[in-house]
Subunit: 369 residues, 2 copies
């Protein structure tokens, strides 16, 4: 192959360039459907906190000013809420950006990064951008196999990504499992605990990961987000909690104005709206039970979840089911991108959305043998 | 030095970690001053387009949905306005992000990047993150020395950054100069034409850089922004125009949801508000003439500008003048960060702001011998 001129780095040739898709509005127009529900991206079906919306409307005229590059007020609020220091916090343009910063700060070409399989795909991306090698460790019964992940460590390992709850399976690793894992992992390796779905967890076995950071452990970073239960996915704001040395390393590679000003303002407002978070949990728990019941009635196996989505085996080609559901106005995520061709990943919606999803699923399953 | 554990990459040890500053609101409170004007960040003193503000307020309730990862509607509008293809466009979380993507896509450790001195500091940052070497070529009479920059090319050169108008000097390179420069630069090297201040230029000598892209030239990328004349600095949205192969390379290293949804919506609205852009130019041109006149009256040498800021020699330690002006509620940028210790970089403000700035400057200059 003749390289285009100027040629990009060889290290990134394996990364598939983003294939632009059309916005939902365009798909709707083309298919001639009106009422579309999207249960594909694990967004909060109740929307954002009304306080966040109000804060945005009030601040809208100030957008001509650069954002605060230090997220001063947001960090102050997070530090108070989480009982950590402001120097133990970093805020990103979504957790996505922090994942990339982790690659940029810690991964040299040829370094290794350990991830589960299946798990969130951005971990692999962060490593690939920096020419890192990704070691994938299969899940066991849809759960992260922390023993095998610790066993995959080599002298070149720099990062281990623990998605907890795991996307797309919704399962967690327990406090005891994580404790033993951290005992085994050499302290020179940074363990990334991605807790994007933290607020949805109901299991008493779930680890209190911030205790590691508060206790001064230098090789753990906890990631959380405003994109899920806080309902601010469109604004892009995620954060990391770690030892100040780790935060310092990440700040070296961070752009000075990475988090937009409306995101900072909305996140502060959303953080205080505990009623909205409480209601969102309630709706999620109810929806979970409803969907479990319906899946059982349909004879479908699902993975019990600790998050706001369910990984369900529909026993048929998920791409085909996806297309037929889309034509009926219900958008879901197919399992093939995670290597599970007969699975769907369904965001738990409102009662009405869940009912509509089940109705459409039942129809489509009867059409697809 | 004992390395912290886990240690960051050696390549980034030379990057100074961001030193968190306090927001203006905090400084104001501490100094006990009320009416602060900020002429430090080259923001639009007229604020954002009112259409953009309205668009944000209308869309605020939709922020629970992920942004369109392809900036579909914004690219459509930009493509139509600029007469380029949508596949010739990339949108970033500010131009800052696109600069970093350029490093990630094209710079391997040890590769070289050519920049002017002084110029915008983020070019150096983008190279450093990837372990690139930065070759600085001094300006001549505050103007980019394109001949010397072409002469600095080596077999390892991958990127050349041409800031036009140049930040902090406000000068431009002409069409003829750029043509000869591009003739000399080997086609395997990508030339980055950063036109953040494009809309403010009044000189007829200014190059029509998009003509290179429209003509199919593969080794040029033009960068523009919504942070300056469009008044959306807080929302972070910049864009690049280049050959589809270059866009493709950048998309390999781009996070899928890099541009927040309110930024996309506000940028589209601002793009159509030509009245606001026109008025902003007018205010800038008037302010420029006023400040020139005042500087002459004060006996200060300044660099004639093609942008919305002026680089002026105050003949005194700029840090000291900065502090005294800050105490009187006027924030400017000191030249020391660009290597010019007796210079200030002043954003051209509204008539009232310019008058207040001059009054305070006159006072302070009389206090500092």
């Amino acid at each position: 192959m003749v390289k285009p001129s100027p040629a990009c780095r060889e290290a990134i040739l394996d990364i598939k360039p983003y294939v632009p898709g059309k916005p939902i509005e365009e798909v709707q127009r083309e298919l001639g459907i009106k009422d579309v529900i999207k249960l594909a991206s694990n967004e909060n079906p109740l929307g954002p906190s009304p306080d966040a919306v109000m804060a945005i409307r009030e601040a809208a005229e100030k957008i001509y000013l650069y954002p605060d590059g230090n997220c001063y007020y947001l960090k102050q609020a997070l530090a108070a809420k989480l009982d950590v220091g402001e120097d133990q916090l970093i805020v990103g343009n979504g957790t996505d950006e922090i994942l990339k910063l982790l690659g940029e700060a810690f991964v040299d070409p040829g370094d290794e990064v350990v991830v589960a399989d299946p798990t969130f795909s951005e971990y692999e991306f962060a490593a690939q951008v920096m020419g890192g090698r990704v070691m994938k460790v299969p899940c066991r019964d849809f759960r992260l196999d922390l023993e095998a992940m610790a066993g995959a460590v080599s002298p070149r390992t720099r990062l281990i990504f623990v998605c907890n709850p795991n996307n797309p399976t919704g399962t967690i690793v327990s406090r005891d499992e994580l404790d033993s894992f951290l005992d085994r992992v050499p302290p020179r390796i940074l363990v990334v605990l991605d807790e994007a779905y933290y607020e949805y967890v109901t299991s008493p076995e779930y680890p209190d990961s911030l205790a590691y950071v508060r206790g001064g452990r230098p090789n753990v970073i906890v990631l959380r987000t405003f994109s899920k239960i806080y309902g601010l996915a469109g604004l892009r704001v995620g954060y990391g909690i770690a030892h100040p040395e780790i935060i310092n390393s990440l700040n070296r590679v961070r752009e000075p104005f990475n988090v937009n000003s409306l995101a900072q303002i909305a996140a502060r407002a959303a953080l205080d709206d505990e009623a909205h978070v409480g209601k969102s949990k309630e709706v999620n728990n109810e929806g979970k039970e409803f969907l479990y019941e319906q899946f059982r009635a349909l004879g479908l196996k699902y993975v019990p979840t600790e998050s706001n989505f369910i990984f369900v085996d529909i026993g048929r080609d998920s791409r085909e089911v996806f297309k037929k559901m889309l034509a009926k106005g219900v958008i879901v995520r197919t399992g093939d991108i995670f290597g599970f061709t007969t699975f769907l990943r369904i965001t738990i919606g409102t009662r009405r959305q869940n009912q509509r999803f089940i109705d459409v699923l039942r129809e489509v399953l009867s059409e697809v043998p």
